[in-house]
């Protein structure tokens, strides 16, 4: 009888603590990681995309709609990373506030089908990740002003980790000869990374993998093959959240190898080395440096 009573009391306490904590629903795995870093145990974080899922092609479900209905705050990447703005639409339908984490980022403009668009993969540069984190800190402080100092302290700590990550990436990249710094990936997700760390980017698919449905233009594919041959690229890289079929074909055609698999639009599963943002970036850089040096 006593044991039952204690169990019930513990359950009641757990329920109370969960009820006390606001629910923050994030669109992508990277944003969910940033929210956890800033909010700590003060918030509950839920992520709509599972590790390995593609935000460009994701179709939201009724379970997502139900989750957002319970949310106190929604966080999205924006810049159309979420195909057809599914996160903003879910939040709007549920009448919940949504914060776009790319606000304030120094955007990179890229050509896409004859027009210029803002590249949404801004988190690939740790300095931009710092902007995401500060935006989330401000949003959480607005949501829970009493815990503002705590969020600021956690943010400062995480920013220091991002600073260390940035310095570490520069050290690792320094061992790759400058002429070999060409990053060929499945889709155009690494432009920010390439700009910051001095790589040239090439990909058979543009900034959105939604293009894959219509098939890639032959001239784009040919341009990538020629780029590989003319620049003496040693290896190309597939991505964990995108089909590797096209890039494997290109690698075979160009007679080069697959250098490894990179985390791009999604982080890794829990327990994997890429399960959080810093781990994901470290894994990517180690893979790139090992294949291109």
């Amino acid at each position: 009888m006593k044991a039952v009573l204690i169990c019930l009391l513990a359950l009641f306490a757990c329920t109370l603590s969960a009820v006390d904590r606001p629910l923050v629903v994030c669109s992508t795995t990277q944003i969910a990681d940033f929210a956890r870093q800033v909010g700590g145990d003060r918030i509950q974080v839920a992520c709509i995309l599972k590790p390995g899922a593609d935000p460009h092609t994701y179709q939201s479900t009724t379970a997502d709609a139900r989750l957002v209905l319970d949310a106190d705050l929604c966080l999205e990447n924006g810049l159309h990373l979420e195909g057809n703005n599914w996160m903003a639409k879910l939040a709007k339908d549920a009448g919940k506030p949504v914060v776009t984490c790319t606000e304030g980022v120094a955007l990179l403009r890229i050509a896409s089908n004859g027009e210029t668009v803002a590249d949404p993969h801004a988190w690939m540069d740790p300095r931009n990740a710092a902007t995401y984190v500060r935006t989330i800190q401000q949003a959480l402080t607005k949501l829970m002003p009493a815990h503002g100092d705590e969020f600021a302290a956690r943010t400062t700590l995480f920013l220091q980790q991002l600073r260390a990550l940035d310095a570490w990436v520069r050290e690792q990249i320094a061992v790759i000869p400058v002429e070999r710094r060409v990053l060929v990936t499945s889709h155009d997700a690494f432009n920010y990374f390439c700009r910051t760390y001095g790589f040239e980017a090439a990909a058979p698919v543009g900034w959105s993998t939604a293009e894959l449905g219509a098939g890639i233009p032959p001239e784009r594919r040919q341009a990538v093959v020629e780029s590989i041959r003319s620049q003496g690229v040693k290896a190309v890289f597939v991505e964990t959240s995108v089909s590797s079929e096209i890039l494997t074909e290109i690698a075979n055609e160009a007679g080069i190898r697959i250098g490894g698999s990179l985390y791009s639009d999604s982080m890794g599963a829990p327990g994997s080395a890429g399960a959080d943002y810093i781990g994901m970036m470290r894994e990517n850089v180690l893979t790139i440096a090992a294949a291109l040096r």
Binding site: P126, A130, A152, T156, R163, A167
Partner: protein
């Protein structure tokens, strides 16, 4: 009856603890160490191999607040803030509030784009007492500590 016994044990424990806290002897007062003779002149000479200046720090909580090139503090007491460090040009910082014995001089350096070596020489009454080179990595807003031992029987430290 059982509850009363439990209550009595608790009262005894808490009461005993309270009694111990109120009656325990006060900790011994550590005599303050004397400050270094005010007539002694202690100067930190800093020379950087690359230019450093106020710039935005992308990893700061408030990135729009520029970071000074160098901030020096003796322990927690700020000694000086220098906005710009020119390459090869020596900057002298007079250090005050030093005590006889071990002092920690803390240097905060702004993030740089390339590796910068900062030579730090501490002069006591015109004689070098400590000589260190700090290697400041790119992208890093570094915090470095210099151990400065000021005692009559202390040998000069040249970092060898």
């Amino acid at each position: 009856m059982q509850w009363a016994l439990v209550l009595m044990v608790w009262v005894g424990l808490v009461g005993g603890l309270a009694l111990y806290i109120s009656a325990r002897p006060a900790p011994p007062v550590v005599a303050a160490r004397s400050l270094v003779d005010s007539a002694a002149e202690v100067t930190l000479q800093c020379t950087a191999t690359g230019p450093m200046g106020r710039s935005d720090d992308p990893f700061a909580l408030n990135p729009s607040a520029p970071v000074p090139a160098l901030r020096a503090a003796v322990g927690p007491v700020e000694a000086v803030v220098i906005d710009q460090l020119e390459a090869g040009k020596q900057r002298d910082i007079v250090l005050t509030g030093l005590i006889t014995g071990r002092n920690e001089v803390v240097l905060h350096l702004a993030p740089t784009d390339s590796v910068v070596a900062l030579r730090c020489v501490v002069m006591v009454n015109g004689q070098p007492r400590l000589n260190r080179v700090l290697w400041h990595a790119p992208g890093d807003a570094g915090v470095y500590g210099l151990d400065l031992n000021l005692g009559d029987d202390v040998e000069p430290d040249y970092g060898h």
